[in-house]
């Protein structure tokens, strides 16, 4: 657990720098397109701090994949749930998605669909691995 926490902090701190940079790039293009032409100081401060926090958690939770005991999909599931909560809370806090049912449902559906595809890929890949190992075992027995 101590090792996981240290790995979480290390990865989180490293990635957290990227959050405000991405927000800066997004605002830059929104400004160019004319979508946004004015920002209040409080909005900018909130965006910088919250995006750093978002990136810290998103980067840190990838440490879950270093826990060897966890099967691949459980690690992916923990990663996915933490990312989902991280994104939805920060997006709503900044008003990056509308605080109403439909946008949240759409966001959630996209997230679940993406993870369903990942689960299917992992499952099929491990099934193929198990099949190959069994074939190799048969050859060894012969």
């Amino acid at each position: 657990m101590k090792r996981f926490i240290l790995e979480f902090l290390k990865r989180g701190i490293f990635v957290s720098v990227g959050g405000p940079i991405i927000v800066g790039i997004v605002y830059f293009f929104l400004g160019l397109s004319g979508e946004i032409w004015y920002l209040e100081v409080n909005d900018v401060v909130l965006a910088i701090i919250s995006s750093a926090l978002l990136a810290f958690i998103a980067g840190g939770i990838s440490a879950v994949h270093t826990i060897d005991r966890l099967p691949v999909f459980i690690a992916i599931l923990i990663h996915g749930v933490v990312l989902y909560v991280d994104y939805i809370v920060i997006y709503l806090l900044n008003g990056w998605i509308e605080d109403s049912v439909l946008p949240i449902v759409i966001f959630t559906a996209i997230f679940i669909a993406a993870y369903a595809v990942i689960w299917l890929c992992v499952f099929l890949s491990q099934r193929k691995t198990a099949k190959k190992l069994n074939e190799s075992l048969e050859v060894r027995k012969d």
Partner: protein, 145 residues
């Protein structure tokens, strides 16, 4: 030749200081590299000497190292997993997770799990998981790409 013994509970190592490699040095090396063919297995107060070929899997259960034998019997072993890893014949045994070593010849088959893992089923029916790190070693060992 001078001989000295240092008691160290964490390390079992033979270091030979000699002006050149002699038959005696070779003999000491041979003894140091000897792989075990039997293990002392404990069942309550009873001690049995079991051929390692009879063991399907060594696994840690409730903080104790247990040998699961071909008949499905479970015996306590005093050696630690890392000690067994060093002394068991490496052609026949492979580590499958940080607390289990499998007898390759006693594996009935592999199966994938819905959680994205791979399990090993032994001839006696005992099931153990393969960790992600050891899965790569296992694939290399069984020539699976």
């Amino acid at each position: 030749m001078k001989f000295s013994f240092v008691e160290d509970k964490d390390r079992a190592e033979i270091v030979v200081y000699a002006p050149s490699r002699t038959p005696l040095v070779d003999k000491i090396e041979q003894i140091a590299n000897t792989k075990v063919s039997t293990v002392n297995a404990y069942d309550g107060n009873e001690v049995k000497i079991i051929d390692v070929g009879e063991v399907e899997c060594f696994s840690v259960m409730n903080s104790r190292v247990i040998a699961v034998t071909r008949g499905g019997g479970k015996y306590r072993i005093k050696e630690r997993i890392y000690e067994l890893e060093e002394t068991l014949p490496s052609d026949d045994f492979i580590k499958i997770n940080k607390s289990a070593i499998a007898n390759i010849g006693a594996i009935r088959g592999f199966s994938s799990t819905y959680s994205g893992g791979v399990n090993v089923t032994f001839v006696c029916g005992y099931v153990e998981y393969v960790s992600r790190r050891q899965l790569q070693n296992l694939k290399r060992r069984l020539n699976v790409k």
